[in-house]
């Protein structure tokens, strides 16, 4: 008796459970998307209806002064209901970035979200590809959530309004290679040019000698000088040639410390012998020989 009265109740409960399990799927109705330009008034701009699981194919353009508005009514099965999660999910497929904008929902399931440039992060604002916008509606319990692409979104930047450059944060990684650029080595002119000028410079020595001879230069007094003061003349002339020789050695192999003492010694010899030798020259002058 008692069992009989319970049976219909159990049946009812079972059917209720079953219907709950089957009907549970979130979706939306009365969806619309509109882009209103600032000051365009009612009816101006872009407007399109949104149907679940049928994404728009043409990208929605969002200018810098525009406001994008998505309105829809969330439904669980056929009845309007407020879910816990209702997001407009923007994805940048190239950079694998995503950001969600929650709808503001009334108890009746009427949901609305507005989006303009200032809401978007800089990384998405500068994206060169169309962003993909999805609508996500889901809640707790067994009802299956809705997550489907709704429309592609192209961000149109105003070239007159500079958007701040996203400051690239420091990340550890490989840095660009640097190869030092060396200053160019000093260059010599063509060796032929150098040789021509060297020849010209060296040709001055025979030219000088020729000029001396032409003007009557001679060394006729050499014998006379050597006979009257042989030691001092030899030493004086030798020391002068020696000093030049020391300079040549300094130029080729010697260093300064080797050069200076020898130069000093030769200088003393040249000074002492030079005064004698020049006295002899003076005697010749006083004798009227020159």
């Amino acid at each position: 008796m008692r069992l009989q009265s319970l049976l219909p109740q159990v049946c009812l409960l079972l059917s209720a459970l079953q219907s709950g399990a089957v009907a549970a799927s979130w979706t939306f109705a009365d969806g619309s998307i509109s882009v209103a330009a600032k000051g365009a008034g009612v009816g101006g701009g872009f407007k399109e209806t949104l149907t679940p699981s049928k994404p728009l194919t043409t990208p929605v353009k969002l200018g810098s002064a525009d406001t994008l508005k998505v309105i829809l009514t969330t439904q669980e099965g056929q009845s309007a209901k407020r879910p816990h999660q209702a997001f407009l999910l923007l994805q940048d497929p190239a950079k694998k970035l995503d950001v969600s904008y929650p709808f503001s929902i009334k108890e009746s399931g009427k949901a609305k979200v507005e989006l303009s440039h200032k809401d978007l992060p800089l990384q998405l604002l500068r994206s060169s590809y169309p962003l993909s916008a999805s609508i996500v509606i889901a809640s707790f319990g067994s009802a299956e959530g809705y997550n489907s692409k709704a429309f592609p979104l192209t961000i149109e930047l105003d070239p007159n309004v500079p958007i701040p450059v996203a400051e690239k944060p420091l990340r550890y990684g490989k840095l660009p290679e640097i190869h030092h650029i060396f200053r160019p080595d000093p260059q010599s002119p063509n060796v032929v040019i150098s040789l021509v000028f060297l020849g010209a410079v060296l040709a001055t020595v025979p030219a000088l000698l020729g000029a001396f001879l032409y003007l009557g230069g001679n060394i006729n007094h050499l014998g006379k000088a050597l006979s009257s003061a042989p030691v001092s003349h030899t030493l004086f002339l030798g020391s002068i040639v020696g000093i030049e020789g020391v300079f040549f050695l300094y130029y080729t192999v010697w260093n300064l410390f080797k050069t200076l003492p020898v130069l000093l010694a030769l200088g003393v010899v040249a000074f002492l012998s030079g005064s004698r030798a020049l006295t002899e020259v003076q005697e010749r002058r006083l004798a009227g020989l020159r």
Binding site: P83, F140, E177, G217, I219, H221
Partner: protein, 474 residues
């Protein structure tokens, strides 16, 4: 060199005596307020003990508790479980924990949305630029990737794939096949500015964080959504101390190790929490990803055609001085610690180990290429010419990458100018020949003039004229 290698061996021997599996040490302190919860994590403790870690369990209420002994770390590793009260108490203040990290201690911080996150922990994490939701009991849910078996109603057990590579040039220590169960996680967001922090496990795209108290309404201002929400994140300090924030401590419990889970509309599968947690603790406790520089060497390369003037100087290693435009070879020996010993370190193909030769700013930044491999290390080397700028330079290897211990080697050398006798001689420079020739022709001309001055006899008529002049004046 021999002395150095024997020193290295000694050090290695010492290291292996000190620690079992970790590169730094094997003492682990577990802060567990409720002793009765220890049993829930028995497989986790067993895993750690299998890897030769010595676990000590302490309650944060223990006033004798100290992370330091005689100014040194008393424990190399620290596992923090969420406290019941507002914080960990006076023995584990955020300041002490920061000091611990600064001294090189590794921390695994477990969070749980059930017991809530104390504000002391939030403020500690803020020091690393890791932020938690201002709601104490914030929880991460995902209505698309949840476990149907255990959380059919609340959707708070997330099923997440094991993480992939963070960046193409970063080593992935946490990869692999399989699904992870993340029960009742606390999501974190990472600040953009600090390169020391890195996400390990991100939430799925449809996930979001909310406060369970506001379950009846719809979520309007979530703390964070999608992949901006991190479940596990890591901070590696410059001293290579590692700090891992595990959003869901419950992941470590026995019941989630190999638990059977099912995605909505998907097949049932076993979770791989055990493997992932092993990877996570291996990284946190410095069993993997520890780099060590064994030696650094640089020397001048002399070409065989130039006979060396000073043989001892040529073969000197690591000289203090180079000349500009010297050819220099630089090599660095790096090993990577891999659980029990050092193995040769291999730089990923997409990455590069770079040498900088710098004075204020780098003059050269060159990739180092592996030249030799030993049992424990790889020798990376490169050759280059010192720049034509004298000054105090430094060889710098600055290799900092996420999840690898930072390498910062700096070796200062002087780069001097050419000495006066190192320039080419003037006769070797063709452009100087006219000038050199001019000099010597002047000298020859001077000698001719001296001869002429000393020994020239004036012409006869000139003598006559002079004599007449001298007579008339006197």
């Amino acid at each position: 060199m021999r002395l150095f290698s024997s020193l290295c061996l000694l050090l290695l021997a010492l290291l292996s005596v000190v620690s079992g599996r970790s590169a730094v040490g094997d003492r682990v302190l577990v802060i567990l307020e409720d002793e009765s919860q220890k049993g829930l994590y028995s497989k986790f403790w067993a895993d750690l003990e299998d890897r030769d870690f010595k676990l000590s369990f302490e309650s944060p209420r223990n006033e004798q508790l100290s992370l330091f002994r005689h100014g040194q770390l008393a424990y190399e590793h620290l596992i923090l479980t969420p406290p019941k009260s507002k914080g960990y108490g006076p023995t584990l203040t955020p300041k002490i924990l920061l000091d611990y990290v600064n001294a090189g201690g590794n921390v695994l911080l477990g969070l749980s949305s059930e017991s809530g996150t104390p504000s002391a922990v939030s403020s500690l994490l803020l020091e690393f630029d890791i932020s938690l939701s201002p709601d104490k009991h914030s929880i991460v849910v995902d209505h698309f990737n949840y476990d149907k078996v255990s959380a059919a109603e609340k959707h708070d057990v997330l099923l997440v794939e094991r993480p992939g590579q963070l960046r193409p040039d970063v080593v992935n220590f946490f990869g692999g096949e399989g699904t992870l169960a993340v029960p009742r996680a606390v999501g974190q967001t990472l600040g953009p500015a600090i390169p020391l922090i890195a996400p390990i496990l991100k939430a799925p795209m449809t996930a979001y964080a909310y406060n369970p108290g506001e379950e009846a309404q719809s979520v309007e201002e979530p703390f964070a959504t999608g992949s901006q929400l991190n479940i596990v994140s890591a901070m590696q300090a410059r001293n290579s101390a590692r700090f891992t924030v595990l959003g869901s401590l419950e992941m470590l419990q026995d019941k989630w190790f190999g638990a059977t889970v099912q995605l909505p509309g998907g097949k049932t599968s076993k979770t791989v929490n055990q493997e992932f947690v092993k990877q996570l603790t291996e990284w946190t406790f410095q069993e993997v990803g520890v780099l060590k520089v064994f030696s650094v060497q640089h020397y001048q390369i002399t070409t065989a055609s130039e006979p060396s003037q000073n043989t001892t100087q040529i073969w000197e290693y690591n000289p203090e001085m180079y000349r500009i435009k010297n050819d220099v070879k630089f090599s660095i020996e790096i090993g990577q610690y891999d659980r029990t010993h050092y193995v040769p370190f291999v730089v990923p193909d997409t990455d590069a180990l770079q040498l900088e030769f710098t004075m204020l700013s780098p003059f050269h930044r060159l990739p180092l290429t592996p030249s030799t491999t030993t049992d424990n290390s790889t020798i990376y080397s490169t050759t280059f010419t010192t720049p034509d700028q004298h000054g105090i330079f430094a060889f710098k290897v600055n290799y900092k990458r996420p999840f690898l211990t930072p390498i910062e080697e700096r070796h200062q050398v002087t780069v001097r100018h050419f000495a006066h006798d190192e320039w080419p001689r003037s006769w070797a420079i063709t452009g100087a020949w006219p000038w050199v020739g001019g000099l010597w022709s002047v000298i020859v001309g001077f000698l001719l003039f001296v001869l002429l001055w000393l020994y020239s006899e004036p012409p006869k008529e000139e003598i006559e004229r002079r004599r007449a002049l001298s007579v008339s004046t006197s």
